[in-house]
């Protein structure tokens, strides 16, 4: 009985902190991978290539790096929705 009460109490105290930690982690990730800025950078990279300011190799290298960041940024955004949903459940 004592152990069950202890478990219940620790969940009530711990859960909000876990949520807060996850939110802070989520915020830090979204700062590192800002979705809109990465999308803008992809367009800018393309624009510079079309203006002849980048070689094809430079453009493709930039595109590859930015698309990898874009995939991460999209996952971070999905995770953000997931974190809130987990807490509500």
């Amino acid at each position: 009985m004592v152990l069950i009460v202890d478990d219940l109490l620790s969940n009530l105290f711990v859960a909000p902190w876990v949520f807060l930690f996850k939110q802070l982690h989520q915020y830090a990730l979204s700062e590192m991978y800002p979705l809109e800025k990465i999308e803008s950078a992809i367009k800018e990279n393309r624009m510079e290539y079309e203006l002849g300011e980048l070689s094809q190799g430079e453009y493709e290298e930039g595109e590859k790096i930015l698309n990898e960041k874009l995939q991460i940024a999209r996952k971070v955004k999905e995770m953000g929705a997931g974190v809130t949903a987990q807490y509500l459940h």
Binding site: E39, S40, K43, E44, M47, E50, L51, E53, E63
Partner: protein, 218 residues
């Protein structure tokens, strides 16, 4: 898993072909599925998620550009695959009125894009203009808009995704006015030759049509 019907765009049925001489996503031949007065331009493709990769985007865009040569196009977003012909036709039936109205709005019209870009060498640019960069941008933008709006049905402002973008607009223009529009751009480019002007199109009216179709059975 059986292939579904991948949709590129919607066109008027009048004059629409049954088959088109172009290859679509995953190498499938492109053809039309008709319903009442409209037709969906489609090809058979696997029922998967289609990411906006360079390859997928290029094929989707190329099919739309091909159709645009001869037809008014209502573009559909990348990745719309319907389970089968029946589901697609049911969806077209459900949103028929909306699609017809949208086709009428963009009938015989295309989209043209105009971007004005500041040169990379900022110091040289500032030396070539007699005003501040901000003032110069404003004057150019106002004149471009004033001249080009006269030849357009509608204008949409685009995002300034780069600090070098002075302005970014899309114009919905009647096909017959394209030569006049192009002539106007040439005149403005010569006048504001300190800027780089990027003039693109014709495109399907991507920025003037926003139809979201959610099919339960898709």
């Amino acid at each position: 898993m059986a292939d579904g019907e991948y949709v590129y765009c919607i066109i008027n049925r009048k004059g629409a072909p049954n088959h088109l001489d172009i290859t679509g996503i995953k190498g499938g031949p492109v053809y039309c599925i008709h319903y009442a007065e409209i037709s969906a331009v489609v090809s058979k493709a696997p029922m998967i998620e289609y990411k906006a990769t360079e390859e997928n985007t290029t094929i989707h865009r190329d099919v739309n550009q091909y159709v645009l040569k001869n037809y008014t196009v209502l573009p559909v977003a990348l990745g719309m695959v319907f389970k089968n012909r029946g589901v697609l036709i049911n969806t077209m039936r459900r949103v028929y009125g909306l699609l017809r109205r949208s086709l009428r709005l963009v009938d015989n019209k295309i989209e043209l894009g105009v971007k004005a870009i500041l040169p990379k060498n900022k110091e040289e640019f500032e030396g070539n203009i007699e005003k501040s960069v901000g003032e110069f941008r404003k004057i150019c933008e106002e004149e471009y808009l004033k001249e080009l709006r006269e030849l357009s049905v509608e204008t949409k402002e685009g995002k300034l995704f780069s600090e070098r973008l002075a302005f970014n607009y899309s114009f919905l223009v009647e096909r017959e006015k394209i030569p006049l529009f192009t002539e106007k751009i040439t005149t403005l480019e010569e006048k504001y030759n300190q800027l780089l002007t990027k003039y693109t199109g014709p495109w399907p009216p991507y920025n003037f049509v926003d139809i979201k179709i959610i099919s339960r059975g898709r």
